[in-house]
């Protein structure tokens, strides 16, 4: 090493030390205030009947209560009573009667009644916004809600069209769309029969631990605690979520003590921040899967051997241990770990020789395809790694990077050869992923089932569709688990989906913050239990 190199290296080390050592004039946030840096540019609406993005769900989880909900201190326990104190299931498995808890009030001071619950659920069905399928899959429709969702005294009864697994129905009610809104306040703000949709997009009318003070798009969300919260007033009286785009900026803010929690640090910044004084990092397994999928309209990509070959051409270990380190873990099944019926089987490894064999068997010699990926750095890097391994078997894969909407539009119209992206479950039940990866009753172009991943890839599921249908009405827990294991075993081998990784969310925070949870794989972040 010559002098010049030594100089540069010592400069680098000096810089690194300077960054990680405690800086002068350390700031601190007030004791009763929680400040979080997060990317919140995905919030488009706060109406629980419409909200469907990550940052929006975080707000909803803290502002609205649901019939049943998860306890952030014990997420493994599954759904727990919240607005519903208890429930009964009829013998035919189609009717569930909820008894509403006494003494809950909305932020407006109005009591939370069975009528509010009835209104909220009916409203979500009638408005028919994007997430409404979470409820309408049980047979509710704008025409029949008068009969199927009914309040009576302090109970609410819902009637489904088939005897679904009770856990499936209740899990769906924990989704954002199950949020209970204040009927009187909402209807007072109704415009042109929109059931208050316009108003609720930017305002809230809930009964949760926090109420919304302000939402400034691409800037911040400010929440104020609700002292009348039924589990006691939250310790953090004010929660501010600031939009900070860059990981580096988030880390600097955290190290300087200007924020309490940074939620979007990349692996390198996590590594750097965790060695800084006064900062800890919490890992939580999330439900999001990273996958690549092959369009079955493509004459070569639709060959079974080619589908298999792709699964051997992913450098799973290499990526997991390098640029995805700590934030993704290898996972090759469509149900995320921790989900009912999840499987940890991971038979595929990076094996170029095996892939070559398979391709030769399929008679593939030279191939040029296009992969679509959105402009997120980790995805672009996965794409490049894939491109690199495909090149070794003579497949040339061109990467097209575009904005999320651009790539998605092409994916939805079945135009891409290969799509590389992420999928997050909509509600914490296996049906959420089974019903999209392995379910496609009508594979024709005319069906336009753009919400189904199997349809987007023009895959007829090789007979898995009826099995998915059967699993969803199976009320015996163990039998249901086995059914999903069987579906996934077949899916792994035959499907055109190369499922690669499951996300781990790393939240870096000041070490005086306790009990913070982003909700793991099943729900969103909640703040009421956080202390400092």
């Amino acid at each position: 090493m010559n002098a010049f190199n030594r100089l540069l290296t010592s400069a680098a080390i000096g810089l690194a030390v300077a960054v990680t050592s405690a800086p002068a004039g350390f700031a601190e946030t007030p004791a009763n205030m929680l400040v979080i840096a997060n990317r919140i540019d995905d919030i488009t609406t706060l109406d629980p009947a419409e909200s469907f993005e990550f940052a929006g769900s975080d707000v909803s989880r803290n502002v609205y209560q649901k019939l049943v909900n998860f306890d952030p201190n014990d997420l493994d326990a599954g759904y727990q009573p919240e607005v519903a104190e208890s429930w009964d299931v009829s013998d035919d498995g189609k009717t569930i009667t909820f008894t509403i808890r006494d003494g809950l009030t909305f932020h407006s001071g109005n009591p939370v009644t069975a009528a509010d619950v009835e209104y909220s659920l009916r409203r979500a069905v009638i408005l028919n916004k994007t997430p409404s399928f979470i409820l309408t899959q049980f047979g509710f429709s704008a025409e029949n809600v008068e009969q199927t969702i009914v309040a009576d005294g302090n109970t609410v009864t819902i009637v489904t069209d088939q005897p679904y697994a009770t856990s499936f129905v209740l899990n769906c009610l924990t989704a954002t769309i199950g949020g209970i809104v204040d009927m009187k306040t909402v209807m007072a703000n109704e415009v042109d029969g929109d059931m208050g949709n316009t108003w609720l997009k930017t305002n809230t009318a809930g009964s949760g631990a926090y109420k919304l003070v302000s939402w400034k798009p691409n800037d911040s969300v400010t929440l104020q605690s609700n002292p009348g919260y039924y589990r006691g007033a939250p310790a953090m009286e004010r929660v501010i979520v600031r939009h900070v785009q860059e990981s580096a900026s988030q880390r600097l803010l955290l190290e300087r003590g200007d924020i309490d929690i940074a939620r979007n640090l990349n692996p390198e910044d996590v590594a750097g921040a965790s060695s800084a004084e006064g900062i800890k990092v919490i890992d939580e397994l999330k439900g999001r899967l990273m996958y690549a999928s092959l369009n079955q309209k493509h004459p070569i990509l639709s060959k079974p051997e080619v589908r298999q070959a792709f699964k051997y051409l992913v450098d799973y270990e290499g990526m997991q241990n390098s640029f995805l380190k700590g934030q993704y873990t290898i996972h090759q099944n469509f149900l995320p770990k921790t989900y009912l019926g999840a499987s940890n089987e991971a038979p595929f490894t990076y094996d170029v020789a095996k892939a070559k064999e398979l391709l030769a068997a399929a008679g593939v010699d030279g191939l040029e395809i296009e992969v679509g990926v959105r402009e997120a750095q980790e995805r672009i890097e996965i794409a490049q790694s894939l491109q690199n391994s495909l090149a070794q078997v003579g497949i040339k894969m061109n990467i097209t990077v575009g904005t999320a909407k651009q790539i998605l539009a092409r994916y939805r119209s079945r135009e891409l050869d290969v799509y590389l992206g992420a999928w997050g479950p909509d509600y914490p039940d296996p049906q959420t992923n089974a019903g999209t990866f392995a379910y496609n009753p009508d594979n024709s172009d005319a069906a336009q089932a753009t919400g189904l991943l199997a349809w987007r890839n023009a895959w007829d599921t090789d007979g898995l569709t009826p099995l998915v249908d059967a699993a969803v009405t199976e009320n015996d827990r163990d039998a249901r688990i086995q059914m999903y294991k069987d579906i996934q075993a077949k899916f792994r081998e035959t499907s055109p989906f190369v499922i690669m990784f499951q996300q781990i969310e790393q939240s870096a925070m000041r070490d005086n913050v306790t009990n913070f949870s982003t909700g793991q794989a099943i729900t969103s972040a909640s703040y009421w239990q956080v202390t400092k």
Binding site: M1, F4, N5, L8, T9, A12, L15, A16, V19, E246, S247, A248, R251, L252, N266, E268, D269, A271, G272, D315, G318, M319, N321, S322, F323, E375, Q377, I380, E381, A383, Q384, S385, Q387, N388, N398, I399, T400, V401, G402, T403, Q406
Partner: protein
């Protein structure tokens, strides 16, 4: 020796014998003036070096610019075999930088071909024809000028899809209006000059006048302008790359390299800094050269002539 002496004398003569002689002579004098400007020569030298690097990239690059090695990623400066370190996928940064010079040159040359020529066409036509044509063309120019530049480029790239060719087109689209303005202003002055009237009296048509007499006179101010804009063009391309809409991976475009490397800026600062320095150096070279050229060519600076 004596032959070069006479060539020099021939070039420096005050009494040119032919039109060609006069042109060569003034060119040579300009070159002498430029050569005395150390800064400008420094800029020129860097650009020549860039050109050579681009041409001989395969011989200069120590590694394959695309070869990944995940076990050898984010190596620091001066590590064995990777003088400038490696990036997130374990690719050799120096090799990528060397190959990237081709893309940079490609962008610069292409934009330099498109924008000034488009501007020259619009500007001279507007200036020479005048009247309604002038009004319409200049309003169009105004519209493009008033448009937020990055938005226009982004919209264009978003419409046609990301990629280096589209980025070049998008940048050209935002870069032509100023050239049109300059060309128009020059044309207006030239048009009313006596010798153009004389040519017109001899029966030359507008096409001939514009191409043979107006254009050559606009060129010098355009060249100065183009050189000074080059830095802006490289930075604009880098900005598009930074937003993920420039060159497509795994292309080693410098802006895209910064964009990839900025994630590690706090701990592995060189990954973004090295291409940043490359962009900076080339931009600076163009600016120094342009600034020198302005001193030589711009008649407004009375001092040198």
């Amino acid at each position: 020796m004596s032959e070069t002496e006479t060539l020099r004398a021939w070039l420096l003569t005050d009494t040119p014998t032919s039109r060609r002689h006069a042109r060569l002579s003034s060119f040579y004098k300009g070159w002498l003036a430029l050569r005395s400007n150390t800064m400008a020569m420094f800029g020129l030298a860097i650009l020549v070096l860039l050109g050579l690097t681009a041409v001989f990239a395969p011989f200069l690059a120590p590694h394959d610019a695309f070869a990944q090695d995940l076990g050898n990623r984010l190596q620091p400066l001066g590590s064995d075999g990777n003088f400038l370190g490696t990036d997130s996928l374990g690719r050799d940064i120096l090799s990528r930088l060397i190959y990237g010079s081709r893309i940079t040159l490609y962008i610069v040359l292409l934009v330099a071909m498109i924008a000034p020529i488009a501007g020259l066409l619009v500007g001279t036509i507007a200036g020479y024809v005048g009247g309604w044509v002038d009004l319409v063309l200049m309003r169009i120019t105004d519209i493009f000028l008033a448009f937020p530049r990055l938005v226009l480029a982004l919209a264009f790239v978003a419409a046609l899809g990301a990629g280096i060719e589209n980025a070049v087109l998008a940048i050209s689209l935002t870069a032509w209006p100023p050239y049109a303005r300059i060309a128009r202003a020059e044309t207006l002055t030239i048009r009313s000059s006596d010798y153009i009237s004389a040519i017109r009296l001899q029966g030359a048509g507008p096409l001939r006048i514009i191409t043979k007499h107006v254009w050559p006179l606009c060129i010098s101010s355009l060249i100065v302008r183009v050189t000074l804009d080059m830095a802006g063009i490289i930075l604009a391309a880098a900005g598009l790359g930074f937003l993920g809409l420039g060159a497509q991976p795994p292309s080693p475009e410098w802006g895209a390299m910064i964009s990839e490397g900025r994630r590690f800026i706090l701990d592995h600062w060189w990954v973004a800094t090295v291409p940043g320095l490359a962009i900076f150096t080339v931009s600076l070279a163009f600016n120094l050269l342009g600034d020198g050229l302005r001193d030589v060519l711009d008649p407004k600076d009375g001092g040198t002539q």
